[in-house]
């Protein structure tokens, strides 16, 4: 099949970008979306043109490196699926697609479809961890974790940090990403001692990075390739309120 692609091309963070039209001919329905772009890039190189830059690595839907917008939807039309796992059988011959990078003030464009998501690392660095220095741990079975908590923590921990939630949110909020980490750690007994400090530190960092706030729109949940639920944001807000009261009490 053949597709008409409108791809955002931008040399670097400083220069202005624009959309350029490409024809993807001979698209095989069993290709992944990124393989379709590989083939397009091979044809560009053959013509001596610069290939389209896009981020990708594992191509198994787990590393969270890939991601851009297809027709305004983060990771494209298939729910619960990263771009690298999206196959061309979900498109039809002659379709016209607009490919654009994640857009958020906290994620500046690096080149073409590549953005800088280092703000996510800084959110984790601010408090998205349990302080357990190597060697200090008790036996793994010393502290029991109810199965239900472990399962819920795992649901939240499945976040791959791709940034689709931010890209899709009209506020460019990182609430789903933060809520996932806060829920993952806050649901486990090991995460309790730092629970309230964690939420305060991460929210403060999020403001500094200029991510927006959450207004319960839910676009993030709709495009999350790991189908993380809005509940994690509710949990983050509860922890944040509790942390605020606690702070006032002292």
């Amino acid at each position: 099949m053949r597709l008409l692609l409108h791809i955002w091309r931008q040399r670097n963070a400083q220069e202005k970008g624009r959309t350029i039209r490409y024809l993807a001919a001979d698209v095989n329905p069993d290709m992944s979306f990124l393989e379709m772009l590989d083939v397009l890039n091979e044809s560009l190189i053959a013509k001596g043109e610069e290939p389209v830059a896009f981020d990708h690595d594992c191509r198994e839907g787990i590393c969270g490196t890939c991601g851009f917008m297809i027709n305004g939807v983060a990771h494209g039309p298939l729910r619960g699926t990263t771009l690298c796992q999206l196959h061309m059988r979900h498109f039809h011959d002659g379709e016209e697609l607009y490919l654009e990078p994640w857009r958020a003030r906290a994620f500046p464009v690096v080149r073409d479809l590549v953005v800088d998501r280092s703000a996510f690392d800084r959110l984790i660095s601010a408090g998205g961890f349990i302080s357990a220095s190597t060697g200090s741990a008790p036996d793994g079975n010393a502290i029991l974790v109810p199965k239900e908590n472990a399962e819920q923590a795992m649901d939240a921990a499945a976040c791959i940090g791709c940034g689709a939630c931010v890209a899709m949110c009209p506020n460019a909020s990182a609430s789903l990403f933060m809520g996932a980490k806060i829920s993952h750690l806050g649901l486990l007994p090991q995460g309790q001692p730092e629970r309230l400090e964690r939420v305060l530190a991460m929210v403060a960092q999020s403001n500094e990075e200029r991510f927006g706030g959450c207004t319960n729109i839910g676009e993030c949940e709709a495009v999350c390739p790991k189908q993380i639920k809005l509940d994690v944001i509710a949990r983050m807000h509860r922890d944040f309120l509790r942390a605020g009261w606690r702070r006032r009490a002292f």
Binding site: C63, D121, A132
Partner: protein, 637 residues
Amino acid sequence: MDLISKAPTGPIETRWDRHRFSLKLVNPANKRKHTILVVGSGLAGASAAASLAELGYQVQCFCFQDSPRRAHSIAAQGGINAAKNYHNDGDSIYRLFYDTVKGGDFRSRESNVYRLAQISVAIIDQCVAQGVPFAREYSGYLDNRSFGGAQVSRTFYARGQTGQQLLLGAYQALERQVGAGAVAMFPRTEMLDLIVIDGKARGIVARNLITGKIASHLGDAVVLGTGGYGNVYYLSTNAKGSNATAIWRAHKRGALFANPCFTQIHPTCIPVSGHYQSKLTLMSESLRNDGRVWVPLHKGDRRPPSKIPDDERDYYLERRYPSFGNLVPRDVASRNAKAVCDEGRGVGETSLAVYLDFRDAIARLGPHVIHERYGNLFDMYQRITGEDPYSVPMRIYPAIHYTMGGLWVDYNLMSNVPGLYVIGEANFSDHGANRLGASALMQGLADGYFVLPNTIGDYLAANPLEPVDRNNAAVRDAEAGVARFTRRLLEANGTRSVDSFHRELGQIMWDYCGMSRTAGSLERALSKIPELRDEYWRDVRVVGSGEELNQSLEKAGRVADFFELAELISTDALQRNESCGGHFREEYQTPDGEAARDDENYSYVAAWEFRGVGQMSELHKEPLVFDYVHPTYRSYK
């Protein structure tokens, strides 16, 4: 050159303890005076960087990805082994040690493997403390499963995302140290050379992948945790970015490369669908716990699987290996899949696949149990192939997955270049000729959390290191060399893309140095690789410049190294006139087609010294001694 392994002798249970006691320590107040460069941020690199920073060292950590959380450890699905014996089923440190030495087909160091088994227990504790959401029983205790050929349940797991959860644990520990100012993180930065001064590793030359700027980073020791080299085959289960550049350039600076021909083929991957294929996707081998592997009994049977009655199916693993059945180790399962496909009994469009069938397990346990155990894997399979594995058997085929070979290291994980440490998949040390399932995560974390932080101090305490001047000739030379290399790639200005060469190299390696090898096929590889390499340098086309994000240029450098490494892999495979583990030479097999080892002549580590591109490398041998597990014929019948 004498290879001194520093492996302790005496009672194996106390070797690590006695060795640790013999090591020199760095005074806590002096630790902050030492800068350690850690390259790679996967399980090994991130756990090492975090643990070294916790000890008080100044750490700089580098990765080519946009974030340390992306390293390919993240894709490991099945689990991590530990000799906890929580199930009271006969497991012990000694049994994990025994299984690993035997599974590695007696080509690993006993001392290293015993230490790995000992440390496995502490890894689980550490990860639980970090908040890794391991699977639990209803009682709240940790759950285990049996995995990849083990007859005890010692594998801890977090759904099918164990690697992801362990990596996020290490990543969070690393980010905690970044926040504390103890680690300086350099993402999108690729190491392109090792700086060696007065015989000691003192720094790296790296390229900032966004600006293209080439700069040196200097310190007192360099740690490489840069993963394996499976992408030399082009199609593998590795991430697209996984590469051998860091270890290869260190090799060219003098570090010996050990057992490069020990490559692991994973038996359960989704088969190739077309020429555009960019990578292969692994289906966790935990699937073999409940799935049954079969092909039609008769050649050329093209009926759909549901139309083939049971008596016309050949459950060949169950037939040939009645006691292990579908759970035979990876090398055995892979070779058998190739054998039945070579007989013309392969299935699917390409006939290069076998069935992995859950029909009986679904009938026995119900679809909901299968969903609970493998739901995410079934979903992934369906997304990629468009087929529903609940109703149609999966099609699988072996693919390159892991490389047991890597840079040679001693018991302290230091290479033969003083001050250069190599951890995780990048070194050669613990898996011998074949790695058992759920052992890669164990080794990466053992090296990073518990071995390296204990051993690196011995080197730093014993060697007074003067600060390195940025204008030192060795630093300038290395920088200039990298700039020259980059320029040469950009100026070749040929007609073919990097990927087209890489694909062709991969095909040569798969055909002639893949799942089974012969002297003839290896000689063919050794004549074809240099030809293609020459053509590469003449005819490669890298568009764009070196002063910006240029993904083709990044690939071009990595592929240039793969060409040289491919030659070494083939050379190593050709000198090893025996079959062992992942290295199967057709000339050396038992009458019933199993690998035939030659302990008399090949019970050694083959450590290669670089002698120049296109020159024959020099072989050094480290003899292997087995005091505890006496080499036996590996039988899974």
